[in-house]
């Protein structure tokens, strides 16, 4: 029982980190109707930016997380302005293909850029709070605790913004009907920019939070990128609620699955396959994912 609770807690913490990345991807999809295949690399960028903020300038690592989110937000705004805007001005014919190629290409570019800027070495960001906390039989790294609370706070803040503010309404309006939003005066280019910026900033924040826990390197974004894609397909493309539930589900499945399913001595060898397995099952039962409305494409 103790063992099970410890595993479940670990799964929950991992799930919260996934949620931060996946919500960003889902937000971008819901508004721009495209999958950002450079999402994992934006996560990596956030990790490096906060690493350098705190090691070079001595900025408190938690503040560095928020600064890195700002930097990655600006990066996202630039990416959307220079590379994705043509999709919405009618300059591009094969929109889906263009979106895949351009974001994928940017991802590879960021990997190589990071490799030459930061070197291939593994680095560890500064601890948020060093040491461990023990409650009874549970022992948890303090960084993971801090990160969980920060992740929850960011997710709640985001939900509040999306559901309660003017800007949030505009985001939802464009995501639900781009033309209808346009004819009531919403500048959808701005909303695209905002959604993309916020979406990648969430990934960047996740990367910065991961830094002291799972270490950073130029290739660190590949797996989170793939997993967040699996999560949003699982949760329903474009659904924020789906992204949250999907993330927690994946975190638990990976944590418990690699222990209780299959042969535990081989569990870790298939860990990354669990998500895909779960996805396959869900999609067979519900083709639009857990909370998916219907399949949406760019017009």
């Amino acid at each position: 029982m103790d063992f099970f609770v410890a595993q479940a807690l670990n799964g929950l913490i991992i799930g919260l980190l996934y949620a931060l990345i996946a919500i960003g991807l889902s937000l971008i999809f819901s508004v721009l109707k495209l999958v950002n295949f450079a999402h994992g690399e934006c996560c990596m960028m956030g990790a490096f930016v906060s690493y350098y903020f705190s090691t070079l300038f001595g900025i408190n690592p938690l503040i560095a997380v928020f600064l890195s989110m700002v930097v990655v937000f600006l990066l996202g705004v630039a990416m959307q302005y220079f590379f994705l805007r043509p999709l919405y001005t009618g300059a591009v014919e094969r929109k889906d293909e263009y979106a895949i190629l351009i974001t994928f290409g940017l991802g590879i570019f960021f990997q190589n850029l990071a490799m030459s800027l930061f070197g291939p070495w593994t680095k560890k960001s500064q601890d948020f709070l060093s040491g461990v906390t023990s409650i009874g039989f549970l022992t948890v790294d303090n960084n993971r605790l801090v990160v969980s609370f920060v992740a929850i706070a960011i997710v709640l803040a985001l939900l509040l913004i999306i559901n309660k503010t003017f800007v949030g309404k505009a985001l939802r309006a464009v995501s639900q009907d781009r033309d209808a939003a346009a004819i009531v005066g919403i500048n959808s280019h701005r909303i695209n920019m905002l959604a993309f910026g916020v979406g990648v900033a969430l990934a960047g924040g996740a990367g910065a939070l991961i830094g002291p826990i799972f270490l950073i390197s130029p290739m660190m974004g590949i797996l989170p990128g793939i997993k967040s894609f699996v999560i949003i397909v699982l949760g329903g493309m474009g659904s924020i609620k789906g992204a949250i539930i999907g993330s927690l589900l994946l975190g638990e499945i990976e944590s418990l699955g690699s222990i209780y399913l299959l042969d535990p001595t081989r569990g870790l060898a298939y860990k990354n396959a669990f998500g895909v397995l779960l996805l396959a099952i869900v999609l067979l039962v519900k083709p639009t994912g857990l909370f998916g409305e219907r399949h949406v494409r760019m017009e």
């Binding site: 103790d2 790294d141 690699s258 060898a269």
Partner: protein, 399 residues
């Protein structure tokens, strides 16, 4: 018109052949293979490349011709290794040295054998590399069995009963796992108690080992030793997470970071205080004897990079020297002549007197340097250089 074309054709052909002959006669090309970027162990690759360059500039000439060193990045990926070997063969390399990852070396030896390109593996340990008995393949690094049977001896000698491991899903990791299963599991330790060895295989990309480490933590009795059979980021993460969960290192449980990544400064940057009293292995340690050759190499390497070299650099350095000497002794760059020379070679290198065995029993011994050493060390302070870490095994070497 037709005669004119033929004439021009012949001229062109002569120019081409002359050109290429002139090219290959002007210099001797030595090839290098190493992981210079991720997902490979880039820190090791970078070191090996520098060491190769040092050796080449020392040697200067082979057979009276200048040397051209061509180092290819294999990125820790077998397919990149195959491509690199083919590029080197196409470029006319006389021989190739290097490699760090067993899985990549395993792909490279196939090309070496097909294209008759002598290959000296500097730092990849899987038995299979020499066990295939390919005539063109030699190895300076120890074979897994050669060293890890000794690790098993040490484990038994400290009276451990419960040994657990997390193993990376590669030729290298699985090879070590096999050695422990065969030479440790169910064997009797120094107290006459049976040793239980449990391992979990993991993908190289896994970053959270907590579930499995929790499982090990809940074992009763608690494990005596956690074997971290990983390289790179994963190796760091296992030590870190083992520490965070309070599993090891402590009075009950030790942690052994088996991969070479534990010798680099990044180890301390990433594992911090959890690295104190962690155990690792190295192919070089001052207590093995500091010869003038090592002193000179270390000094030059440190002057050049500001870092302490690991044995991976030394192996790469020696490999170039061994290849160069073999070509000199062969008197040509013909591959069979080089192989014949390598089989007879005796070279006093940084790591010792290097020669290659012709034994085919045990099967990994063929074209293997039997003198390759490795020792078990333990860090005793945070940020410690591996050269200052304490020697644990073999006992005979302890001061």
């Amino acid at each position: 018109m037709k005669t004119f074309l033929t004439f021009m054709g012949v001229i062109g052909l002569v120019v081409c052949i002359g050109g290429s002959l002139g090219w290959s006669q002007d210099q001797v090309i030595l090839g290098g293979v190493a992981p210079l970027s991720a997902p490979g162990a880039a820190e090791s690759g970078a070191e090996m490349k520098i060491a190769m360059e040092m050796a080449v500039s020392e040697i200067g000439q082979i057979l009276g011709k200048p040397i051209k060193l061509q180092v290819e990045d294999t990125r820790g990926l077998p397919e990149e290794g195959t491509a690199a070997m083919n590029r080197l063969a196409d470029a006319g390399a006389a021989g190739v040295v290097g490699e760090f990852h067993s899985a990549v070396a395993n792909a490279e030896i196939e090309v070496a054998n097909q294209r008759k390109l002598p290959l000296i593996i500097a730092e990849a340990w899987a038995d299979v590399i020499t066990a295939k008995h390919y005539p063109y393949v030699f190895r300076i690094a120890p074979a897994n069995s050669l060293f890890y049977t000794k690790v098993s001896d040490w484990v038994k000698a400290i009276g451990a009963q419960n040994v657990v491991a997390i193993v990376e899903n590669t030729d290298w990791g699985l090879g070590i796992d096999t050695v422990f299963k065969e030479t440790l599991h169910d064997q009797k330790n120094i107290d006459g108690d049976p040793v239980q060895y449990t391992s979990i295989v993991a993908e190289r990309t896994v970053t959270d080992f907590t579930p499995q480490l929790l499982r090990y933590k809940s074992m009763s009795p608690r494990p005596d030793l956690v074997m971290d059979i990983f390289t790179g980021t994963g190796e760091y993460l296992i030590v870190k997470q083992t520490g965070e969960l309070g599993l090891a290192p402590n009075r009950e449980t030790l942690v052994f970071a088996v991969g070479t990544s534990a010798l680099y400064p990044e180890y301390w940057e990433t594992v911090g205080k959890y690295g104190v009293f962690s155990i690792t292995k190295t192919g070089y340690h001052p207590l093995l004897g500091v010869t003038p050759a090592i002193k000179k190499f270390n000094a030059e390497f440190e002057a050049k990079t500001g870092k302490t070299p690991t044995f991976a650099a030394m192996e790469a350095y020696d490999s170039i020297h061994v290849l160069a000497q073999a070509i000199e002794q062969a008197g040509s760059t013909a591959s069979d002549a080089i192989v014949a020379a390598l089989e007879k070679i005796k070279y006093d290198g940084v790591l010792g007197t290097i020669y290659f065995s012709a034994d085919k029993k045990p099967d990994y011994m063929y074209h293997q340097w039997p003198g390759a050493k490795a020792v078990i060390i333990q860090y005793t302070a945070e940020g410690q250089k591996y050269t200052d870490a304490e020697l644990l095994w073999p006992a005979a070497l302890m001061p």
